[in-house]
């Protein structure tokens, strides 16, 4: 949880510093409530600042969140009995760590598993909502040094890439 919130704070600070948005906390809340994706929260800030076209943002999202398309396969069977409204919410907030927790859960009873998934997704969604809003508010209120804070986004990508390559190397070995 703490990792989530702190990364969210970084995303919020980046949005307040570089994104040219009126009232950054509101936009941070909007972005993290709908698109529950950390990397996209970071990557959309330069798109905001430069007012990119919708097509550019669509391609960017497609590229960054492409791995989400593969998360649902493992959860197909276990989520079969979930009613549609709840399923929509679960699908919307399916992010990296949430997926890992869902898959690793060993509850057999479908009702209890449903309950677990619901609370898991909801809490992580809440944490991801708090982080960027707090970060954006701090970025607006405090005179934090912002020269070079774009690197946080690149650092996040580097970290993700390292983890992925490490996983690939492990699987091949």
């Amino acid at each position: 949880m703490m990792g989530y919130v702190t990364m969210g704070i970084a995303a919020g600070v980046l949005l307040a510093a570089k994104g040219d948005v009126p009232c950054p906390p509101l936009w941070a809340a909007l972005i993290s409530a709908t698109v529950v994706s950390g990397t996209l929260s970071f990557a959309i800030v330069p798109a905001f600042a430069a007012s990119d076209s919708a097509l550019a943002v669509a391609l960017l999202t497609l590229g960054i969140n492409f791995r989400y398309a593969f998360y649902g396969f493992s959860l197909l069977g276990r989520w079969r009995t979930v009613p549609l409204p709840l399923k929509l919410f679960l699908v919307n907030s399916l992010s990296d760590e949430i997926y890992a927790l869902d898959v690793a859960c060993r509850l057999k009873d479908p009702a209890r598993y449903r309950y677990y998934c619901m609370w898991n997704h909801y809490l992580c969604w809440l944490y991801w909502l708090i982080g960027p809003v707090a970060g954006a508010s701090a970025g607006v209120a405090l005179p934090l040094p912002t020269n070079g804070i774009d690197f946080a986004m690149v650092a996040l990508f580097l970290v993700i890439l390292t983890d992925q390559i490490k996983g690939m190397v492990k699987k091949n070995v």
Binding site: M7, W27, V57, I64, A69, F73, L94, F151, F157, I165
Partner: protein
């Protein structure tokens, strides 16, 4: 302003739509069937994702100070820390802090001048009512703001115009006093460090010859009507064809 907000909302909606569709693809494709993913698809997903992220990293690096060594050092630190400790937050924080510190201490290579200042785009105008400075509006259009000589110099410095650049001053008022111009140049511009300046008439600035003159400024000599002007020397004035004395 609201047009931009609508555009930003559109961007958020597009991002949301694409992400939701991506996440929902397995449920849409395989609804009702409990199938395993074919191995080729799984391998495809495992390969494509790192490739895309690598492209993203390269693209983002182009937006940083890529001519210097700082982003690469900070990137190496991030990767190294991640491999060593495995804590993503610490790695990101360390890399970002190192990059910001390096930028602050050792400076950036690319200077950021808000908008260019040359003979065709003079920043300072001498009008009937005094000096005016060209500033961009909220909508991105340019408008003239009346300023005092001190304010004009201050704005030049705020914009980051280097002291070695020639400051072009467009004289819109044909009856401008030569003495006032001399005072502005010597007592304000030169004192602040802008030792090179030149006057421009409106016809000169707006004419096509201004663009051609720009390219000739490289070798500091401009052939014009049989005479050569060397810009930057104090006291020289430009005369457009048919311009009146000012």
């Amino acid at each position: 302003m609201s047009e931009r907000i609508l555009h930003l909302l559109l961007l958020v909606a597009v991002a949301w739509g694409v992400t939701f569709t991506l996440r929902a693809i397995p449920f849409i494709l395989f609804a009702g069937r409990d199938r395993e993913i074919p191995k080729s698809v799984e391998r495809f997903g495992a390969i494509v994702s790192p490739v895309i992220i690598t492209c993203l990293i390269v693209y983002s690096y182009a937006g940083l100070e890529w001519r210097t060594a700082w982003p690469y050092l900070a990137g190496a630190l991030t990767i190294g820390l991640q491999l060593w400790k495995g804590n993503p937050l610490a790695s990101i924080l360390a890399g970002t802090v190192l990059y910001m510190v390096l930028l602050g201490c050792c400076g950036c290579q690319t200077s950021t001048v808000a908008f260019k200042q040359d003979i065709a785009h003079p920043l300072i105008h001498v009008t009937r009512h005094g000096l005016a400075f060209v500033t961009p509006d909220e909508d991105g259009k340019f408008k003239s703001v009346p300023v005092t000589p001190e304010e004009a110099v201050e704005r030049l410095e705020d914009l980051g115009v280097p002291k070695t650049a020639t400051i072009y001053v467009q004289v819109d008022d044909p009856d401008a006093s030569q003495r006032a111009l001399w005072v502005f140049k010597n007592n304000y511009l030169s004192r602040a460090g802008y030792t090179k300046s030149a006057w421009v008439t409106p016809r000169r600035a707006e004419s096509g010859t201004a663009e051609r003159l720009n390219s000739n400024l490289q070798d500091r000599k401009i052939p014009f009507e049989g005479r050569t002007f060397t810009p930057g020397q104090s006291g020289r004035t430009y005369r457009g064809r048919g311009a009146r004395d000012f």
